[in-house]
Symmetry: C2
Subunit: 706 residues, 2 copies
């Protein structure tokens, strides 16, 4: 699928402009309006530049124009650095079709409160009328280092020598984004594009990602995210990136409630639930970094070992660790196990090769302890590690060295020589190592980490991503088995409508009948067979048991009568009960709950968890974006920590897991096809030959049940 | 309690020598035997130095001696750098009382295998006979930078300008330890002492810690650990350190089975179980770092804010976060929540103060978003953060800034000026900041971190340690309610002896009687009242139910007879059954298990967990070093994730938790007083008014039951 072509053209003009006009250009080097011009000059931008300033002749050597319309040529990118109130005049002044895209650096919009938000709406409408797509307002700049395009206001771009590379970085925080860019440069990670999306009044995070998927100079898309505006667009973008073999690596804040609230107060944007972000990321192969340093590490490994656009790379879990310090080897082995990596011993062949290089008392297990005696022999350390890489026995090899100050250059040269011969993954840990050789290695394809734990995590992240990618490329999406036009127009109202909706999607319910009088109740109980449960059904009544509206284990007609009388006598504050549900008792199963809910950003999701008292103790609920196929539902169930409970652990009965998968898949399809806000199925009884819903609730956003 | 005075004298001679002899001194600068002399010279050691070399007149300006006995003076420290086989001659040559301590750099001992281990035993015996305590063999050196004592062979000490500081670092890995020392120096963390303990044939890890507890120049003891040799000594050391207000901060590898095996193959040492290390560390206030960088961060914060030797410092959980980038504030808020820190809003007073400094649209919630407009105003950023420190409303304040290159020095100076006025804790995050101002801050008491997540973790570690310290100082140790001389001499053999032992310590057992024939069984069942359980009891029979040796829910004499016949008919491969246990059925309780076992390093520990099927899913077992008081047992129970199950969650019955605490405490006392290897109480039935042991096993090391 291709990205909307109007947006595409605007993005091309914005990111690869041949002509740039700067409204608010200043000759005063201390002013914001001067910085883009200073940087463009410093980086030797080769395109046309038009400073807009009625009171100056020229700035930084470029001729000034008194207004945008004054510029005789078409303008690929109009940079706006005037105060918020002056922007409408600038836009109104543009000639029809003159300006292809805009970057609005000015602040004073939605980030400042309600009045600002209104100003932002007006800005959007005006630019729309003029046919100008823009990034911002409140952006710190858009940078393409491949072409010396640096219309930005961050001090990071006040230095030359920033080498462009395969990473495109898109940030929703200007301050944090530029700091991350500075660290990346320091570590030898090449950022080619930098986009500060500001308030995203028009072009948003996903728009830029889409552009970078199609740009051959980019192999990694990375970003800092506080909130995605269009969940569906983001998911579709992530899928395209996976297909193209370009990892999306994100740092997303607002994980906790406190953080979530802080994002809201800070951006004024609606932030979806973090656990749903997590689910969407996981489902769509987005790598999430938990800290700036973790982000750097992941970018480093992907920069050195780009994914194959043709298809998945090695995604096994087999790793080998080499060190000259036993302690470092153990530290890394511990971390490998934590990350789910395996450490198989070298084959006889490989051991023989290593034996020829290493001292006789070296340990040729895995981790391989090369012993302190190889410290001054870079060729032995490098050769041993690359023997393992070349053997093909491992998905990743890691080499840990400490210090090596005097022979640092020699070690780096040898590693680079080996690297040129193979794309097999080697991660290097160099503790307290010399700066320059390390930067060189990072730049030329051998990732070097300062800490053993960080190296293992990065290597594991790469392998895990390849695994996700393979899984996603294989996944057959869930089919929506819904006849066209049969979806409900409104939320189903009342017991009968809700029950009918669940039945329509094939959700198995416990045998039951709604009785409107004693005769019907008696007849139903007789037909269903005792023991029986009775439940009071009334509009808006969500917590039946709290008001005594449930009776269970009814074994005879006498007990039935008694329970019926009790339930029908309950006062409901004037609400008219719909009747009494007579339900067959389903007992002795393992209780689960499942449900669907609608996230404001990402739409419907499907949830599964263990029911009963253990919910609180295990605190595990699994979430997947809807819809899911039965196969995906099986994977979801199997990934649960409580799965052994369903699978016959410790002599328990095996439950009908395929029936549960079917139920989940159907429920997920329902959540996509029908206009429900949320449904809770709780409990679902898991039995040897079925999965049966014993109770359920339909909810609106406000929490009022129906 | 004071450390053994002989060891103390040796350690003083070793760590603060006024005279150093070097056996194996070499004039060849490439040789190992030359390095200690090069370094002593480079660092301008002011004491006496005696190179031992019969073939040289002088080395590095010091006069050579042909043998140790040739040296006319007493020698505080004899450094041995000759090959392993030549060491006995050197030691034999020492005059009686001439050498006060030794450092053995030579390798070729236990680390190389069995023959080496024997050589090491002989070395120990010989040095013992000569009255010489030593560190090593296989050490890379012992360093006291306060006095330019640098007899070491690592390239790290081949540089001057290493500033000594409050950290004493003791390492069981020479390579990793020296690398860590290099990183510490780079980060501005002052290491005053460095000890590579080598194979620890004589002086061990704890000996050095003990010495540093008494050294006023040391305020933090840190180390890298693969295995502690003497668990009791280590525990006692950790307690003394807590009392003295000196945190012990360790990196311990071998967390996983793979790592554990690698330690064993690498050191040949017996490594105790990692989960017991974890329990011992926790119980005794030892801070554990999971990576080298985490170790650095913790050392940094303790270096800047030493503990008060007088008593615990602030140990609350209240933190405030200041940033000029909303995103960074959110990131830190997220991490604060993860670390269990609270982020209360500033008081009205403090908000007023901040309001006077910050722009009107700054967010004065917590995290405080000072907004991008303060970036060029170091006094505003620094003043705001210190307003919060001075307010006393927070246990810790964190300030996060990005870049600030041009005004970096100004910001550093202002922070230092404020720091001099108060000891209140401020942690600074400076993302992509300038090197020199940051190092200066670290050295002068303001800790600066490069990553927001790392800062929060370090601050939380400091507060948590203060909290542990307060708890430990308050803890009344468990009393051993055992009459002197009543402890058993041997493992209790047979059912009666085991039952008697449990009863002696007041462990509540389900009412039962061992029946030797049908009449006894019938009589017992009648007396205990039906329902009844029967269990086959035989020596060495651990898994009764696997062979059908258990019958439960027996409701009548007829059923009793049937079950009795079935159990007595079971063939036991020639072993004679002791009888049939007739036990009252204890039902409908929550099942737990508890036990004691003996760790090879740390001795007896007490264990508690949830029983039944959920064991596998929850995978939670709590471990405490024995003995524990009832109060400590209550804390242990309350810390369990399954505690809500005992506490009446979701309408369940509240169980008798104090009875469980009593049971655990008594069991822990038993494990200390009696010579048992391990006891499992499983299940323990938790009831509203009691905690009753329904079954138990006594085990030997080999797993053979008794």
């Amino acid at each position: 699928m291709n990205h909307n072509s109007q947006v595409e053209k605007s993005l091309a003009a914005l990111l690869k402009p041949e002509s740039i006009a700067i409204a608010g250009a200043s000759a005063d080097r201390g002013k914001i309006g001067s910085l883009p011009l200073q940087f463009l000059k410093k980086h030797s931008f080769s395109g046309r530049v038009y400073p807009i300033n009625p009171n100056a002749e020229e700035i930084e050597g470029w001729k000034c124009y008194s207004s945008v319309s004054d510029v005789p040529d078409p303008i690929d990118l109009l940079v706006i650095a005037v105060s918020a109130s002056r922007i409408p005049d600038i836009l109104n002044d543009c000639r029809e079709g003159q300006v292809k895209s805009a970057l609005i650096l000015s602040s004073g919009f939605a980030e400042t409160g309600k009045a600002g938000a209104e100003r932002q709406q007006q800005l959007l409408a005006l630019a729309g009328a003029k046919g100008i797509r823009f990034v911002g307002p409140n952006s710190v700049g858009v940078v393409n280092l491949w072409s010396a395009v640096v219309p930005a206001i961050s001090q990071v771009f006040d230095q030359t020598g920033l080498k462009p590379g395969p990473v495109a970085f898109v940030t929703q925080s200007g301050a944090l984004g530029t700091a991350i860019t500075a660290i990346a440069h320091e570590e030898g990670i090449g950022i080619g594009y930098f986009v500060s999306t500001g308030n995203e009044a028009d072009l948003d995070f996903s728009d830029f990602c889409q552009f970078f998927i199609d740009d051959p100079a980019v192999t990694i898309i990375s970003g800092y995210v506080e909130g995605i505006r269009d969940g569906a667009k983001f998911k579709q973008t992530a899928r395209r990136a996976i297909a193209a073999g370009k990892p999306i690596v994100l740092m997303k804040v607002g994980k906790t409630d406190v953080g979530h609230d802080a994002v809201r107060s800070h951006t004024g944007a609606l932030a979806g639930s973090d656990e749903i972000y997590e689910a969407v990321f996981k489902e769509n192969g987005v790598v999430r970094a938990e800290s700036i340093e973790e982000l750097m590490d992941v970018l480093k490994i992907f920069s050195c070992y780009p994914a194959h656009s043709a298809g998945p790379g090695r995604s096994g879990r087999k790793a080998a660790v080499f060190s000259h310090s036993g302690g470092a080897g153990v530290l890394m082995a511990d971390q490998c196990v934590k990350e789910g990596l395996e450490l198989p011993s070298p084959s006889t062949d490989l051991r023989e090769k290593l034996g020829q290089r290493l001292p006789s008392y070296a340990s040729l297990q895995n981790p391989v302890d090369m012993t302190a005696n190889v410290v001054f022999l870079p060729d032995v350390m490098c050769g041993s590690a690359y023997d393992a890489v070349r053997s093909g026995e491992y998905d990743a090899v890691m080499l840990c060295v400490n210090l090596i100050w005097r022979q640092g250059d020699a070690l780096a040269e040898q590693l680079l020589a080996e690297r040129r011969q193979t794309d097999g993954m080697l991660g290097v840990v160099w503790i307290a190592g010399p700066k320059e050789p390390i930067r060189k290695l990072n730049r030329q394809g051998v990732p070097v980490f300062s800490d053993p734990v960080r190296c293992v995590k990065a290597v594991a992240a790469k392998l895990k991503w390849e695994q996700s990618r393979a899984r996603i490329l294989e996944t057959v999406p869930a089919e929506l088995h819904v006849e066209a036009g049969t979806a409900s127009k409104a939320v189903p109202d009342g017991f009968a409508a809700q029950e009918a909706l669940l039945r329509k999607y094939g959700i198995p319910l416990a045998p039951a009948q709604l009785a409107r009088n004693w005769e019907e109740a008696k007849e139903a109980a007789g037909r269903l067979a005792y023991p029986i449960a009775l439940k009071l059904i009334a509009p808006g009544l969500l917590h039946k048991s709290d008001i005594g509206g449930v009776a269970v284990g009814i074994a005879s007609e006498a007990e039935l009568r008694q329970a019926y009388e009790r339930l029908t006598a309950i006062q409901l504050n004037g609400i008219q009960a719909e009747g009494i549900l007579v339900q067959q008792m389903i007992e002795d199963g393992t209780e689960l709950f499942a449900g669907v809910k609608r996230d404001p950003v990402f739409g419907p999701v499907t949830v599964l968890g263990l029911g009963g008292i253990y919910v609180e103790i295990l605190k595990e609920s699994l979430i997947r974006p809807s819809p899911i196929s039965e196969k995906q539902a099986m994977e979801m169930i199997r990934s649960a920590r409580f799965y052994p409970l369903l699978d016959g652990a410790r002599g328990r009965q095996k439950c009908d897991v395929p029936a549960l998968a079917r139920l989940l898949s159907r429920l997920s399809v329902l959540s996509v096809a029908e206009p429900v806000q949320s449904i809770d199925l709780n409990p679902i009884m898991m039995l040897p030959d079925s999965a049966i819903v014993v109770d359920y609730k339909f909810m609106f956003d406000s929490g009022r049940g129906e």
